[in-house]
Amino acid sequence: MPELTLKHDPYNLIITGVGGQGNVMTSRAVGNMLSLLGFHVTIGETFGASQRGGSVMSHVRISKDSSWSPQIPSGHAHMVVSMEPSETIRVLKDFGNRDVKVITNTRPFYPVGVISGQISYPSDDDIRTWISELTSKAWFLNATEKAVAIGDPILGNVIMAGALAGTGELPLDREVFHTIMASRFSGDILQKNLDAYAFGVESVLSRKI
């Protein structure tokens, strides 16, 4: 196996979304994959009552030699993987910088304030323009739509993990993903997870997004 290298050490990855979308699962899966490759992975998470339906974030720090703070310093994210488009912007406000890259699901999860009409939700066009302006590279995909087609909206997470692998930013490979998923699932569920991951990888590699 060639020596695995990181573009930055620690590499700072933020996985964000809305409570209930399965962020914790994604950060654990990505963390486990990198940990199996021998990296020190530190994951900081927010969950509990205050996160019900609220914004959630996992901070993943990947290093060759040590544990880092479970909170990334402001402005220091290298990559943001977001399950919800407006959450991408929220994260960029605090952790973004000119070089940051982003993969974002384009399916909105409306805040209750938007549903009630007290505040408005930005248009898809605005979101794409703004995210592109604040990043050095941005990938947009409707992971939820594809996940529903595969069989369960929660698979959106797996699609996003696949998309992250597809960017080549981190040494994530399909074999390791397969090993991890096979240790937890079997049969149809395992296959759906593998399909979702493959779709994510392919979406980025095919440059259609």
Binding site: G48, S50, S69, I115, D126
Partner: protein
């Protein structure tokens, strides 16, 4: 996860009995140990006790019988257990006993940011604070050894950012099963190994307790959990502990001052090891203390420096009392880096100004505020709809005293701002019991309280007894969602299984309340009109009434991703903004599963989000929200 590391550390110490009460961020410690106990390969007994005081009592019994034992709770639970802890630390223990208490600085999942550390000082027991994931495991194992050496309880404090963060940990060996349980009690009364276990005679036992603490202090002097990194004679010495040690490391790294600033990370924070500290204090005159919430370390270090002022000379302290760090909220690398740059008179690090300004402008329109809300299909939304509308219809300015659980969110618009007091576990009913006696002072407002099923057993029974005994006028609404839902569906005495999955004796909440003498009704909160009518009837009567609103949590394992109904909005019946209902469904009821279709001026179901509970069909005045049994 930090909590998994603590659980593993206890296993590596040969722990045999573990008891606790669920509470974020501590819950996963017992959950992981319960899994091991369930597998049955080891002799291990794990229980979710009725509350933290009982957990501490249960765990201590194992210690009295010679077994390694652990009690686990979040910090407010330590307050509940404190009365017993005072006496337990006075009597001392036999088998090694560790008490894990998890703080939540910044109140990420709490309604307080209470401190564990002061309890170590107050109870005169040793305190250990892991600074990373490896230490979370190693220190837990060592805490048992320390307890075994000094024969007293050892307190291990963790915080949310350690308990709920994950990192790489190298595992150790798990020992074979140990000796059997036997309580020796017929020796000489003062014999620590064979006599009765009690806190009197107080002066004698208290002296013993302080002698034990001195042994711990001596051991702390050489502890590998106290580490120093930095130059031999630093310009500035950071003294820190717990997760703040990682923030300090990060801040020093961001500012690039590794050759100027040293970090003394303390893992043994009560009693502080004086020699170790004095050695470092004599190497540097400028001291920056980094810790969360109250200045516990800061005060102790300052006292030590004052006591040795003659030899140490004057020191310059940069801490909370000097305003370098706040005394509230949690720390992070940015706050530490900002304070550090101020002390060193360096430019403050942070985001590029131009980028920050533009990102903030964009986020104003681009990331609308996301208020926490009940999950789609949550029975609490339906229950608070009932409570709120019943109180409005009753029209006597009644109110609800709140309690601790997901339903605490009913102080927010998510629960129609129904709760008007919110404090500790069980306090809603105690406060209501008091309000219910104010009729003699002319108060005629109806008094309600709520509590969850787990909270009912934890601490709502004594205030209910109090209210009944004193003829208070109040209605307790038990929001029974069949589990300790907020912390991850831990079982409680109202359920048929225990932490290890064994069959347990189920205690029936309505029967308990009836036996105590309350008038009791049980309704399904998803039947909004019936629940409301029953509540209105109860509110009209004197005495103590109990309404149990019983419906499983939408995220409960048996219900999750199962939709009972397929919901839809009949676009021809929904009149939109012209209806006159002021968009009751999407503006007031506001379940995230119901969204507003601006272009068509109609409500719509978001199928991805909707949990299919069917409640919204009963709130639409036009009957436009349709429910169909799901296949």
């Amino acid at each position: 996860m930090g909590n998994e590391a603590i659980a593993r550390g206890a296993l590596e110490a040969g722990v045999r009995v573990v008891a606790g009460y669920p509470g974020t961020p501590a819950s996963e410690i017992i959950e992981n140990l319960a899994k091991i106990a369930k597998e049955g390969s080891r002799k291990l007994y794990v229980e979710w006790s009725v509350n933290e005081k009982v957990a501490l009592e249960v765990a201590s019994a194992a210690s009295f019988a010679g077994l390694p034992t652990m009690a686990v709770m979040k910090q407010p639970g330590l307050n509940v257990a404190a009365d017993y802890l005072l006496h337990l630390s006075g009597s001392g223990v036999r088998g090694p006993m560790v008490l894990v208490s998890a703080d939540d600085p910044g109140a990420l999942s709490s309604v307080n940011e209470g401190e564990t550390r002061y309890y170590a000082k107050l109870m005169e027991i040793p305190l250990l604070e892991p600074g990373d994931f490896q230490e979370a495991k190693d220190m837990t194992t060592w805490a048992f050894k320390l307890s075994d050496t000094i024969k007293n309880v050892v307190l291990l404090r963790t915080v949310t950012r350690l308990s709920h963060a994950s990192g790489t940990v190298v595992l150790g060996e798990i020992p074979e099963n140990g000796s059997n349980a036997f309580f020796k009690h017929d020796g000489f009364i003062l014999d620590p190994n064979e006599g009765a276990i009690l806190s009197p005679p107080v002066e004698y036992k208290h002296t013993e307790q302080q002698r034990k603490l001195k042994i711990a202090e001596a051991l702390f002097e050489d502890s590998p959990f106290n580490t120093y990194t930095g130059p031999e004679k630093p310009e500035l010495l950071i003294i820190t502990s717990s997760i703040c040690s990682l923030y300090s490391k990060e801040a020093v790294s961001i500012l690039g001052v590794r050759d100027r600033v040293g970090i003394l990370k303390l893992g043994t924070t009560w009693p502080l090891p004086p020699k170790r500290l004095l050695k470092h204090l004599s190497s540097c005159d400028h001291i920056f203390i980094v810790e969360e919430v109250l200045p516990f370390l800061e005060d102790e270090v300052k006292i030590l420096a004052a006591e040795h002022g003659k030899t140490l000379g004057a020191k310059f302290f940069y801490g909370k009392k000097e305003g370098y760090l706040p005394m509230v909220g949690e720390m992070n690398p940015d706050k530490v880096a900002a304070a550090l740059s101020r002390i060193l008179a360096m430019p403050q690090p942070g985001m590029d100004d131009v980028y920050k300004k533009r990102a903030t402008e964009i986020s104003f329109a681009g990331s609308p505020h996301r208020e926490a809300t009940f999950c789609p299909g949550c029975p609490h939304r339906a229950s608070f709809w009932t409570l709120n509308t019943a109180l409005s219809m009753d029209n006597r300015n009644g109110f609800v005293c709140g309690d601790i659980g997901c339903y605490s969110m009913a102080v927010l618009p998510a629960g129609f701002s129904t709760l008007k007091t919110l404090h500790a576990m069980g306090s809603g009913t105690g406060v209501a019991s008091g309000f219910g006696k104010l009729g003699g002072f002319g108060m005629s407002q109806p008094v309600l309280s709520v509590c969850g099923d787990s909270t009912f057993f934890h601490s709502a029974i004594p205030p209910l007894v109090n209210a009944i005994h004193h003829h208070s006028n109040m209605t307790l609404v038990v929001l029974d969602n069949s589990g300790t839902a907020m912390t991850g569906f831990q079982p409680h005495p109202g359920l048929e299984k225990d932490a290890m999955g064994n069959v347990a004796e189920k205690i029936d909440i309505p029967e308990v309340c009836r036996a105590l003498g309350a008038e009791v009704r049980v309704c399904d909160p998803f039947d909004v009109s019936e629940s409301r009518q029953v509540l209105l009837d109860l509110m009209d009567r004197d005495g103590v009434k109990v309404l149990v609103l019983k419906q499983s949590c939408a995220l409960s394992p048996e219900k999750k991703s199962l939709k009972k109904y397929t919901m839809s909005v009949d676009q021809s019946l929904c009149a939109g903004e012209n209806c006159g209902c002021n968009r009751l469904c999407t503006r007031i009821f506001a379940c995230p599963g119901l969204i507003w279709d601006k272009e068509n001026n109609r409500s719509r179901i978001d199928e991805v989000v909707c949990a299919g509970c069917g409640v919204c069909s009963s709130i639409c005045p036009k009957g436009a929200i349709m429910k169909k049994e799901a296949v």
